[in-house]
């Protein structure tokens, strides 16, 4: 499968944090969701791709080319959207369009105006007069109007109301429809990833714990809720993590269907991405 973005064994050492051998692949036509708690290393990875930080070791390939060797050219096809808008607050949409047209070779003014209309962004207001949702929509309009092939979102949907989020998720789905584009999306809002992610990469304490397809996660992972007696009978090596609560044990397992065959009376729910994240981070590992 062709990849649009490939991170190979990226390491970055800070005083109090370390990114360890991070490898991530974004295949063509796919959305890869990057999940992890605050401080797990999600933004550090994105900052390294962007160039705000430099990796100590490892390699980054975009469209098969080394990013560090062809940074300027490759960035023509990469769009990055953060959780807030970083443009001059006194810009109007037209000023931003003018600026972007001067830097991107494939800037499409018609497309930009289409997005401005589609998002119903006021044309006579400055960015400072926009609401948070409008600002983010403007960022999306600007980033999508130079036809990037790779889109990187760093908590871009956080702080937005469900209506705007839904609108943006719809656009992201349109973006990958032609199978030539890819998205790396870091988000705390796991329900967004539930809706659109094809792959989930889970990072914890600077290390990738797993990368799986959303379908695998959905079909394999299970969350058992049981009492202490049943918990003690569960095979330890099959338990990924557990959490003791007031009246029950919550147990995360990877082979839900096998468990269900053996423990027929046990209630095993499909684990959501949020369940998996919470159990890995806050649960106890055996």
């Amino acid at each position: 499968m062709d990849s649009i973005l490939e991170l190979k064994n990226i390491n970055k050492q800070f005083d109090d944090f370390q990114l360890k051998n991070v490898s991530i692949t974004v295949p063509k036509g796919m959305i890869v969701g990057l999940i992890g708690e605050n401080g797990a290393g999600k933004s550090t990875i994105i900052n390294i791709i962007e160039g705000l930080l430099k990796e100590d070791s490892g390699e980054i390939y975009v469209f098969g080319q080394n990013l560090r060797e062809h940074e300027k050219t490759l960035k023509q096809d990469i769009g990055i959207i953060y959780d807030s808008c970083h443009y001059n607050e006194k810009f109007k949409y037209s000023d931003l369009g003018k600026m972007m047209s001067l830097v991107y070779d494939h800037w499409d003014q018609e497309k930009y105006l289409e997005y401005i209309d589609r998002f119903s962004l006021p044309k006579n207001k400055t960015i400072s007069q926009y609401s948070k949702g409008m600002k983010m929509k403007l960022c999306f309009a600007a980033e999508l109007s130079y036809h990037p092939k790779l889109l990187i979102l760093d908590e871009a949907t956080s702080g937005l109301d469900p209506i705007v989020r839904d609108e943006i998720l719809e656009i992201l789905q349109e973006f990958i429809m032609d199978e030539e584009h890819g998205i790396l999306m870091s988000s705390h809002i796991t329900s967004d990833l539930d809706k659109i992610a094809d792959y989930i990469t889970f990072i914890h304490n600077g290390e990738i714990l797993f990368t799986k397809t959303y379908d695998d996660i959905h079909s394999q992972y299970g969350l058992i809720r049981c009492g202490q007696k049943i918990f003690e009978t569960l095979p330890e090596d099959e338990i990924l993590a557990y959490k003791k609560e007031d009246f029950e044990y919550k147990v995360l397992v990877e082979n839900r269907q096998d468990f269900q065959k053996i423990y027929k009376d046990l209630v095993i729910d499909k684990a959501t991405i949020e369940d998996i994240m919470l159990m890995y981070v806050r649960g106890t590992k055996l």
Partner: protein
């Protein structure tokens, strides 16, 4: 890089900033009216305009810091060298506007007020150019290293030193005598030092900027 220059110069379209620029440029009118002599000319073209014209990077960086624009600028398809070069170019455009007005003011002193000769007026204007260039060189490193707020202290120190320099030079000595002694040689040396400072300043700024993002 054109996009960054556009973004920086956009600041001038903002209300307060344009007014500041116009006020700064028009201060020659009262000064020219009250000081119709060499010192009035020098006050504008080797002190006021070079200092006022070299401060643009502070204004731009303050606005960038407010919106955390650094994050976006790094994601654009421009090199770090281009980012720094764009800052210097916009600084020089702003400074150039000042010095263009300074040149007109110099010609008024030469041909209307007749306080100085053509040669001497242009020499003073040239000194103003060099001082402004030096100011941009030092300020840029200060602002890129320390940011808009702390970098202002560097600017204030230079400003203070420049004022002291002006007072001592023009009120303490016969400047005409000093400058005509070997003005060509002095200017050549000053030019070389200024250009050297500018080159060192650019590479130092680039080094600081690159280290900041590594």
């Amino acid at each position: 890089m054109k996009a960054l220059i556009y973004k920086d110069l956009f600041v001038l379209k903002q209300k307060g900033q344009l007014a500041t620029l116009i006020l700064n440029l028009l201060m020659v009118i009262p000064i020219g009216f009250f000081f119709q002599n060499l010192y009035g000319l020098a006050l504008i073209i080797i002190l006021s305009y070079p200092i006022g014209g070299s401060v643009f990077i502070q204004v731009v960086m303050e606005k960038e810091e407010r919106t955390n624009f650094d994050k976006t600028v790094i994601s654009l398809p421009v090199t770090k060298a281009e980012i720094i070069l764009a800052k210097y170019i916009t600084s020089f455009i702003y400074f150039g506007i000042h010095m263009l007005f300074g040149l007109i003011y110099t010609f008024i002193h030469i041909y209307v007020i007749k306080s100085v000769s053509l040669e001497f007026g242009l020499l003073l204007w040239g000194i103003g150019l060099l001082i402004g260039t030096m100011m941009i060189s030092i300020n840029s490193v200060g602002y890129i290293l320390l940011g808009a707020k702390k970098g202002t202290f560097v600017y204030m120190v230079i400003l203070l030193l420049s004022i002291i320099g002006y007072v001592v030079t023009f009120l303490g000595f016969d400047i005409k005598q000093v400058l005509t002694l070997s003005s060509t040689v002095l200017m050549l040396i000053a030019c070389l030092i200024t250009i050297l400072c500018l080159i060192v300043s650019y590479f130092t700024s680039l080094k600081i900027f690159t280290r900041k993002y590594s």
